[in-house]
Symmetry: C2
Subunit: 304 residues, 2 copies
Amino acid sequence: MTDLPLADLDVFAAVAQHRSFRAAAKLRNVSASSLSDSVRRLEARLGVRLLNRTTRSVTPTDAGERLLQRLRPGLADIAAALDGVNDFRDRPVGRLRLNVPGIVARTILPDIAARFLALHPGITLEVSTNDALIDVIGEGFDAGVRYEESLQPDMIAVPIGPRLQHYVAAAAPGYLAAHGVPAHPQDLLQHRCILHRFSSGRMLAWVFEEKGGRELSILPPARIIAETSDLEVELACRGLGIVFSFEDFLRPALARGDLVSVLQDWSPSFSGPFLYYNSRHHMPSPLRAFVEFLRAEHKRAEAV
Amino acid sequence: MTDLPLADLDVFAAVAQHRSFRAAAKLRNVSASSLSDSVRRLEARLGVRLLNRTTRSVTPTDAGERLLQRLRPGLADIAAALDGVNDFRDRPVGRLRLNVPGIVARTILPDIAARFLALHPGITLEVSTNDALIDVIGEGFDAGVRYEESLQPDMIAVPIGPRLQHYVAAAAPGYLAAHGVPAHPQDLLQHRCILHRFSSGRMLAWVFEEKGGRELSILPPARIIAETSDLEVELACRGLGIVFSFEDFLRPALARGDLVSVLQDWSPSFSGPFLYYNSRHHMPSPLRAFVEFLRAEHKRAEAV
DNA sequence: ACGACCTGTTCGGATATTCGTACAATGACT
DNA sequence: AGTCATTGTACGAATATCCGAACAGGTCGT
């Protein structure tokens, strides 16, 4: 019962789960060599090899796999027990690890995060931006923010931020003076457009919406294809073409007059993002506080 | 999920359970100051006091008690998972912690332990001698050896050592020459006897048994009262009186001729000791191996 | 087939943890 | 009430752990 090499076991579980020393090291902000030492120490103590590792792959041995499976629930229990201490405090303390799309991190999250953190001084927010990742929990995050309605079971979705967001097409005044102002989405086919490619490789479709409700999807000729929205906006401001992005994201440029929105009557709207978390896992206090905060915000917004 | 202060949590659980820093330190062979540091570190990290401690008592706070309760199953799971690695080895490796009466440690255990350890080179045997303790599991032992049939629930008893043991009364030849040889237990009342007091304070009664089966309990006049059997034997060898103890324990002195047994026809017998362990706990591999070993020994002895 | 990148590991120096001793405080015994 | 053994803690020394850079080896792309 006594003298458990708990720290090393925890390290082993992390490495085995991520199948990588360096990835596990990055996630817990320690060096890879430390993890290497820990695993070696543990294997020496047990007298059994737990991980078959080459420089390009880390695979648990049979013993390692079995140990990992049996270890995981215990570690999860302990994490939950540790978090339970928060019940004895007025305000929860701990870390909240979110994985959000880059665009959300720049538009709707700053405001929400600022108010949430002001309310909970003890909570540390750790935001990773990743547009592609789906298995948010498996990567060690408490929750993720996504736009699509997830189909994964046991996932709970909580609205976060505005429930209605808009795409806006916009261009620099100089560009419009030179190339004319499009009056109909079809006109875009004659324009120079700045397209966005997701990290998954998929292209963002330019979807427009008539006042009546009819949708119109267009893939305009690409002048530029980029993956980072900042670059797209910057190029648009310099008059290189029409950009199509979140209204929230373009707002500063529009306010400054660097960009002018076009096709306002066709401005498409879409539902806002959701915070997703797994209902089967223990809910850490910081996450619980965040969800409560979002629910209160949502309720307040609906009441208006 | 990550960055659990597992080592400190383990320390906290040990200290909280034993309600003593020094006791917990002794049991895991580390210094008390180290445990003090660990608990302070954990409390600082959590921002919550877990143990109320004066120099004479250690009591969990509400938060500490709750944390302890929630922590224990996880730690037990991990210990079990760790032990599970033994399944991937031909011979189990680990530590077996036994708590046995002092007399057993000197008579029947040496032979058993020697053969068992020869069979399992990877096992470390840690024997504590304690005649009074009952809650063997709570103190961190894997199993205990006791003579009395335990009434505790969930305890499994396995015969260990000879199933029939004998008490023997004996004295030095010189003493018998001077004071005569008792022919009947009643004669002991006229002799000088060396009595044994258990650490509980109870005196060992001299129980005799007629060939027919009739029992006769006598509390002879005390010349000497001792708590350590070695002292009693030594004094008897020097002719100070009649000693009454385990035949196994007196055998060397009898063989040397330093002592001569008396009242052989009244020699009382009693059932041998049992190994007790808790059926509700996970059974560590070393304990499992030991029980199997004892069962095999028992079967072999019965077959003869 | 070869090169280039990325991986896990090694090694000496830096850091945090642990130890042993000394001390103040507590509570049981007389 | 006084005494005293025993407990938890503080502090400098010893130790183990951790880090960062260099190394060796595998894998993928060309």
